[in-house]
């Protein structure tokens, strides 16, 4: 099944639940009508939260840049020793 079909199935299932809620009137209808809005808002909140958390915990590695420079110098010396000229930039 294509992925879009999975997502559509999921959406249809949610809509079905929503319609049945409207029909059975388990909760007041005025509330039920607002549920899709709540769903969209909470989805947006989830997205923003995930981006925010991801940004706060973004793994950085400044020490790796230093190590890399050391490795580059070491590699250049090694290569020079083996007759490979990689330039001096």
């Amino acid at each position: 099944m294509k992925h879009i079909a999975k997502i559509m199935t999921f959406l249809v299932a949610i809509t079905a639940v929503w319609i049945s809620l409207l029909q059975t009137a388990m909760i007041p209808q005025s509330h039920t009508w607002l549920l899709p809005l709540y769903l969209i808002v909470s989805l947006g909140c989830y997205g923003l939260l995930m981006v925010g958390v991801g940004l706060m915990q973004f793994p950085t590695c400044p020490q790796e840049a230093v190590l890399l420079q050391q490795d580059v110098i070491e590699a250049k010396q090694f290569l020079k020793h083996n007759g490979v000229d990689v330039g001096s930039d």
Binding site: K2, H3, I4, I7, G47, M50, V51, G54, L55, F58, P59, T60, C61, P62, E64, A65, L68, Q69, D71, V72, E74, A75, F78, L79, N82, G83, V84, D85, V86, G87
Partner: protein, 214 residues
């Protein structure tokens, strides 16, 4: 060179696909061939820039091993992680081992806040829509079983880093066993990488394409 020390007892060849870089890449590769032998260092040049996907296919045609590691040669992918990939593959018998920047032990250096924000946003969007089962979809430092790479590469048509995403999503949908190892990514020391409006549009198009075709 770290690379040579750590993989001394591993049988390897390095295939360099160069699309006519103006920076003298090919001269240096030829010197390396003299130092290490041209059975170890293979230069497979192409006359002009023809895109990432076809570069992979081009390189793959000349690969003689059972496993293929694809990595960028601009030092944003450090060869010191190669043993981690190999160890992980041996331990788990995985079809693909993919490097991830977004877990403990991994990381990125040299990105601006804007770049990080775009990256996180893109990641959350892709995960919510595609459920790929891997944490880093656009990274390109990966180890593949050769047969698996041949299988998935033939069904991928995207360009640029959407191509990386397409490969891992298709592999995941085909039920291949994918494992992850943390890697660090130091943004290009040589040359510069770009991420502008057109890249974001390409990314979104790629996302929709993958939604409908995988």
């Amino acid at each position: 060179m770290t690379f040579c020390c750590v993989v001394r007892d591993v049988d390897f060849e390095i295939i360099i696909v160069d699309d006519g870089s103006p920076d003298g890449t090919q001269d240096i590769v030829k010197q390396l061939q003299q130092a290490y032998g041209d059975d170890r260092i293979l230069l497979r040049a192409r006359p002009k820039k023809l895109g990432l996907g076809t570069a992979y296919i081009h390189g793959l045609k000349h690969a003689s091993g059972n496993f293929v590691v694809i990595m960028d040669a601009d030092l944003s992918h450090h060869p010191k992680y190669l043993p981690h990939f190999i160890k992980k593959q041996i331990e788990t018998r995985a079809d693909i081992v993919t490097g991830t920047r977004y877990v403990k032990g991994g990381g990125v250096h040299g990105w601006t806040l804007m770049r990080k924000l775009t990256s996180r946003g893109a990641n959350v969007l892709a995960h919510t829509l595609l459920w790929p089962g891997v944490s880093d979809m656009t990274g390109s430092f990966r180890l593949y079983k050769k047969s698996v790479l041949e299988d998935i590469i033939s069904s991928c048509v995207s360009k640029g880093y959407v191509f990386q995403m397409e490969m891992i999503v298709r592999a995941s949908r085909k039920g291949y066993h994918i494992e992850e190892v943390p890697i660090t990514f130091v943004d290009r020391v040589y040359g510069s990488s770009k991420l502008g409006g057109s890249e974001i549009v390409e990314y979104l198009k790629g996302l929709v394409y993958l939604l409908f075709t995988t």
